[in-house]
Amino acid sequence: MKLKKCIYIVITILFVTAFYTYSQEDSHPTIDNTVFENPQRTQALFDHDSHNEKAELEDDCSICHHVYENKKLIKDESSEDSLCSECHFLKATPENSVPLRMAFHNRCKECHFESNKGPVLCGECHIRK
């Protein structure tokens, strides 16, 4: 009898937690992380348009979507039709010494530190539900 009771309790707890996690599954916009092999963290929080509106970055897309030629930054040109992963690879290469993860982290965190706003700790971007 006791065992049966235990099993019921365990199953109830499992269902409640499952339901709770499911209902918590809110759709924060995030940056796709499927290019990383076996991602270790949750997708980073980033609501593109609202972020850039709040941070007043709408006039200059090239702050993030930059263009390089022969390792030289080309000013006044932007690459918003490309993903970062088209130029930044998982490991540093001769053409691009900045690996993808570092490209994201440096771009995002450097500005947040400089402007004293925005997330800088791992779990503030890689949120667990």
């Binding site: 076996n38 270790q40 993860r101 570092m102 947040h112 004293n116 800088v120 779990g123 503030e124 667990r128």
Partner: protein, 219 residues
């Protein structure tokens, strides 16, 4: 808040490492000076052969007889000490941060593996604390400061575990994690954590005395 986080995750890391390394060099220098001044006769029987023999005997799990008499304590102790070094060095988030500041990285454990190993470290420290309370001959030798050092060693692991899971107060727990890690690093040279550097010298001395003077093994 950003400036503070930037400080503890930036300059303070290097300041802690600097204090750690200078402290270790200073302590070793003081030890050698003391030996040369008051006990330099030990050099007459110090030997590389017996020193290394003793160090390797004590590094080999369960080779020394006394470790085989208390296999649970020594088993936990071996694994604990290995993890104490491996976990922080090969933790993904530490490697990520190091790579971003030094453009250099190395192998890292997957987060789920590190998570389980962290639980082991915390349990091992709880085990050490309980042992000090329950075993009479250990309790007799235990002072309050022993528990304090167990706590100081446990803090980076507990705060790191809680922060990683983002259970509550994430930002404060991560800040506590960073500071407790730096505190531990700074304390190593000046407290009994220094046994990690003294151990090889203790073994070399014991091994040489047992080998050259008493003609016996010291394990």
């Amino acid at each position: 808040m950003h400036a503070f986080i930037n400080f503890i995750m930036g300059p303070m890391v290097w300041i802690s490492f600097l204090i750690f390394f200078l402290g270790v060099i200073f302590r070793l220098y003081k030890m050698f000076r003391l030996v040369n001044k008051t006990e330099n006769f030990i050099y007459s029987y110090m030997s590389w052969k017996y020193s290394l023999r003793s160090i390797f005997a004590w590094l080999t799990p369960f080779l020394p007889v006394s470790t085989r008499k208390r296999p649970v304590f020594w088993g936990v102790s071996y694994v604990f000490h290995v993890l104490l070094f491996l976990l922080p060095i090969f933790l993904l988030s530490h490697v990520v941060l190091f790579e971003e500041s030094m453009q250099w990285s190395w192998f890292s454990l997957s987060d789920s593996v590190a998570d389980i190993l962290t639980i082991f470290v915390i349990l091992a420290l709880i085990f050490f604390a309980i042992r000090r309370i329950t075993i009479p001959e250990v309790k007799f030798l235990t002072r309050m400061s022993d528990f304090l050092f167990i706590l100081i060693a446990a803090l980076p692991f507990i705060t790191g575990f809680l922060a990683y899971h983002q259970f509550f107060a994430y930002q404060y727990l991560l800040i506590a994690h960073v500071i407790s890690g730096e505190l531990m690093l700074i304390l190593i040279p000046f407290t009994r954590f220094f046994h990690m550097f003294m151990a090889p010298f203790t073994r070399a001395y014991m091994g040489s005395e047992f080998g050259n003077v008493r003609h016996a093994k010291d394990w």
